[in-house]
Symmetry: C2
Subunit: 418 residues, 2 copies
C-alpha cells in the first residue's frame, strides 16, 4: 500500500524566486523512501488565505500533507493560523511549548528578554499536537483534517519549521511514526547503482530495456557532482536481480559510492594512497569536493590553488618557457602542474586544472570553457582536454568533477600514464 | 498592472526528491522582476495526465503559465503531449525544428546517426509556436490556452527544456517579449541592499518599521553565501527614499555587491590589495568562494589547503609545540596559520580556518562545529571563534563565509590587528 502525499513549502522568498526550495526535495525523498506516492510539491507565498486554500486543495487527493515554513515569530508567519482555519478550530497557547521556548532562551541568551512575538510560536490549533524542535524555537505540529466533500476521508497534516536543518531533524523523527499512523504501509525496496565516465544518452543506449517504468522501476539521474545514479524500486527479488544486471552492463564504470569524490576517497583510503591538487581555473573546487567527504584527511594532506603564473612557477616548478610558449591554458602547463604538485607533496596522485572559466579571457584557440586536466604519479602523467558550455559557475564545477574523473581513471588503469 | 503567473516544473526526479528544483526559483524571480505576481510554483511527475491536469488547474487563475522539463527525446518526456491535450489539438512535426535538430547533430557529432527518438523533439501542438534552443536539441514552445468555465479568459503557456542552462537562456529571450504580450505590464522598480555582520533577527530589530509589506514592499532574505539582502519593490520615488533610509540605518554593515566574496574581491581590487587563505576544516571552500567571482585572479594569487599537521608546519611554519600544546583546533594554531600564510605568500591579507567539521573528531572542549578563524597582515593578526550547528556540509560552508567576514572586518578596521 502506497498512500499519497503532497508537499507544501511556505514563503514569499520562494515564490519571489529569491531562495531555492530545498525543503520540498528533501521531504519528497523522505516520503518516497517511506513508501508514499508523491502527487506533487508546491511553493506558496506567506498569505494566510493562500496557504489555507493550498492545504485544502492538497487534502482533496492526498492522505498526508507535509508543510514546511511559516512558523516564525513575526506577523508574516501564518502557517499555524492557516492550519487552524483549514481545521475550523481556534488557536490556543500550548503551555508546554511555551515552557520549552522559555527554557531555550534562558539557555542560549540568559540575559535577553524574550521578544513578546515569540509567544506566538507556542500557539497550536485546538486538537493539534506539537512536534518538538531540538534545534530552534518553533515547535512543529500534526493534526488530522477531514476535508469537505469527502466525508469518510481523513488527511494527516504535519507542519515543520522552514529552517532546513530544523525541518530535517524534525521530519526524520516524525517519519519514524508513519508506519504506525498508516497501517499496511509498504516500504519499497530501493537500490542505487552509481557510475561515471559516460553521458546520460550514451548510458540510456547502453542500458536499453534495463531501464523500465515498472516491475522494477528503474530511473536514471545526472548529478552535479559528476556521476549518474540508477535507482531501482520494486519487490525485493526483482530489485536484486535487476541491480545485478545493471551492474554487469556497466562494468568498468561503476562507483562504490554516490559521487566521484566519496568514491575516490574510499578507493584511495583502501589502498593507503594519497591525493593532492594544483588548481588554476577550478580555484579550490577540487579540494572542496574531496574535503566535503568525511575522512578525507586520510587521503588529502594538502592542496594548492595556483592562480597566478608566478605561483605555478615558484610552487610547482612549471617552467617559465612552457607558460610563455605553450600558454597557461595548455596541455604542457597542466602536465607540468600535476608533475610539480606530485613531486612537491609526495602524494600518490596529483591532479591539475588550467582553463578559461570566463566570462572574459577567452580566445580563438581557447574559448571560454576550455579546460586542460592532468594527473601525475611518481611513474608518469596523463592529460585530458574538456570543453564545458555555460557560465563560470558551471565551468568551474564541471571542470572539478572532470578532474576527479581523470584521477579515478588513472587509479583504475583506464588511462595510460607516461 | 501585475498579471498572474504559475510555474510548473516537470520530472519524476523532482517529486521523488532526487533532484532539487532550481528552475522554479529562477522562473519565479524572472517573472517577478518583469512585473508578474507569482501565485505559486509546483513540481509535477512525468505522467502525461498529471501534467495536463496541473496545467489546466494553473490556467484557471493564472494569466501566464511557465513550464520547464519533459521535452527530452524519450518516451517518458510527455510535456508536449500534455500541452496538446490541454489545448485539445493534435501534435504535428514542425519542419524547421527538425531541420535545426539535424543541423545541430551534424555540427556536434558528424559521424553519428541521429537517434530516431530525437524526431519526437520536433513535434509541436497545432497552433503552438516554437522557441529556439541555442544550447540543446529540444525547442521550447508557446501557445494560448482558453480554459474552460472562463470563456473570456486566455492563458499564455510557455514551455522550456528542463536542463537549467538551456532553460535560462530560452526563458530570458522569451521574457523580452512579455511587455508586448501583456500590454500595460508595469515593471516594478526594485532595489537591493546587501549587508553582513549581524543575524536576521538582530537586523529585523534594528530596521523596525523600515521593513514593510507595501508602499514600498521591503523583504529580508538570508543567503547561504554569508550575507543578507533587503529587497525594496514599489514606485520609483518611494523605492529611492526607502533605500536611502535602509542604507543609513545599516551604516558600517553594507556590502558593495551581493555577497561577501564579490564584495571582498571588489574592495581588495580597488585598493590593489591581495588575499590568500590557509584552510584546514574548510578544505578549499574559502578559495572556491573567492575564485567564483570573475576577476578574482587580480586579488588571489595562491591559496593553500593545509589539512595535515605536517603541512601546517612545513608550509606555514606553525610551530610543532603550538599544535601539540594548544591543539590543531585552537586560537594559537589559527593565528600561526594566518601569519605563516601571509609571510609565505606576501599577500596583503591572509585568512586561516581550523575546526571540527565532523561528523567525527569532536571533543568536550571542541565539539563538532567549533571553528577558529584568523586574519593576518604584515602589521598584525586577529582571531575569532565561531560555533556552527548542523552537518559537515553546513559547517564547512558557514565557516568559509565567516572567514570572509573576518577578512572584510579587518579590511575595514572593524577588528583590531595585533
Amino acid at each position: 500500500m502506497h498512500p499519497t502525499v503532497r508537499i507544501l513549502s511556505i514563503g514569499d522568498e520562494l515564490v519571489l524566486g529569491r531562495v531555492t526550495d530545498t525543503n520540498a526535495s528533501f521531504l519528497c525523498r523522505l516520503a518516497t523512501d517511506h513508501g508514499f506516492r508523491v502527487l506533487g510539491a508546491q511553493q506558496v507565498g506567506d498569505g494566510e488565505a493562500g496557504i489555507t486554500a493550498a492545504l485544502l486543495a492538497a487534502a482533496q487527493d492526498a492522505e498526508l500533507v507535509l508543510i514546511s515554513g511559516g512558523l516564525g515569530p513575526t506577523d508574516d508567519d501564518r502557517t499555524r493560523h492557516a492550519l487552524a482555519a483549514a481545521l475550523g478550530v481556534p488557536l490556543a497557547e500550548h503551555a508546554p511549548s511555551w515552557t520549552a521556548i522559555e527554557a531555550r532562551y534562558r539557555r542560549l541568551a540568559p540575559t535577553r528578554v524574550i521578544p513578546p512575538n515569540n509567544r506566538r510560536q507556542a500557539l497550536l490549533p485546538r486538537g493539534a499536537r506539537p512536534l518538538a524542535n531540538d534545534r530552534g524555537t518553533a515547535p512543529g505540529m500534526v493534526a488530522t483534517l477531514r476535508p469537505q466533500n469527502t466525508p469518510r476521508k481523513r488527511t494527516l497534516v504535519a507542519v515543520f519549521p522552514g529552517v532546513p536543518h530544523e525541518m530535517k531533524a524534525m521530519a526524520e523523527r516524525f517519519s519514524a511514526t508513519l508506519p504506525r499512523r498508516f497501517p499496511g504501509l509498504t516500504v519499497p525496496h530501493i537500490s542505487e547503482v552509481w557510475f561515471a565516465g559516460i553521458g546520460e544518452s550514451a548510458a540510456q543506449e547502453r542500458l536499453g530495456d534495463l531501464l523500465s517504468e515498472s516491475a522494477p522501476q528503474v530511473g536514471i539521474t545526472v548529478s552535479e557532482l559528476g556521476h549518474l545514479t540508477l535507482r531501482v524500486v520494486g519487490e525485493p527479488r526483482e530489485v536484486a536481480a535487476r541491480t545485478r544486471a545493471l551492474r554487469a552492463c556497466l562494468k568498468g564504470l561503476l562507483l562504490p559510492a554516490a559521487g566521484l569524490a566519496p568514491s575516490l576517497v574510499a578507493a584511495l583510503s583502501k589502498r593507503r594512497a594519497t591525493i593532492t591538487a594544483a588548481e588554476s581555473c577550478t580555484g579550490g573546487h577540487v579540494a572542496a569536493l574531496l574535503t566535503a567527504v568525511p575522512g578525507a584527511s586520510t587521503v588529502l594532506r594538502e592542496s594548492l590553488v595556483a592562480y597566478h603564473p608566478s605561483v605555478k612557477h615558484a610552487r610547482l616548478d612549471v617552467p617559465l618557457r612552457v607558460m610563455s610558449k605553450d600558454g597557461i591554458v595548455s596541455e604542457a602547463c597542466a602536465r607540468a602542474m600535476a608533475v610539480g604538485a606530485q613531486a612537491r607533496s609526495g602524494a600518490t596522485f596529483a591532479i591539475a586544472t588550467t582553463g578559461v572559466a570566463g566570462p572574459t579571457g577567452g580566445s580563438v584557440e581557447n574559448p571560454v570553457g576550455t579546460v586542460w586536466l592532468a594527473v601525475a604519479t611518481a611513474a608518469g602523467s596523463a592529460t585530458r582536454k574538456v570543453f564545458i558550455q555555460g557560465i563560470r559557475e558551471r565551468i568551474q564545477a564541471r571542470a572539478a568533477t572532470s578532474a576527479l574523473q581523470l584521477a579515478w581513471d588513472a587509479l583504475h588503469g583506464l588511462v595510460t600514464l607516461d
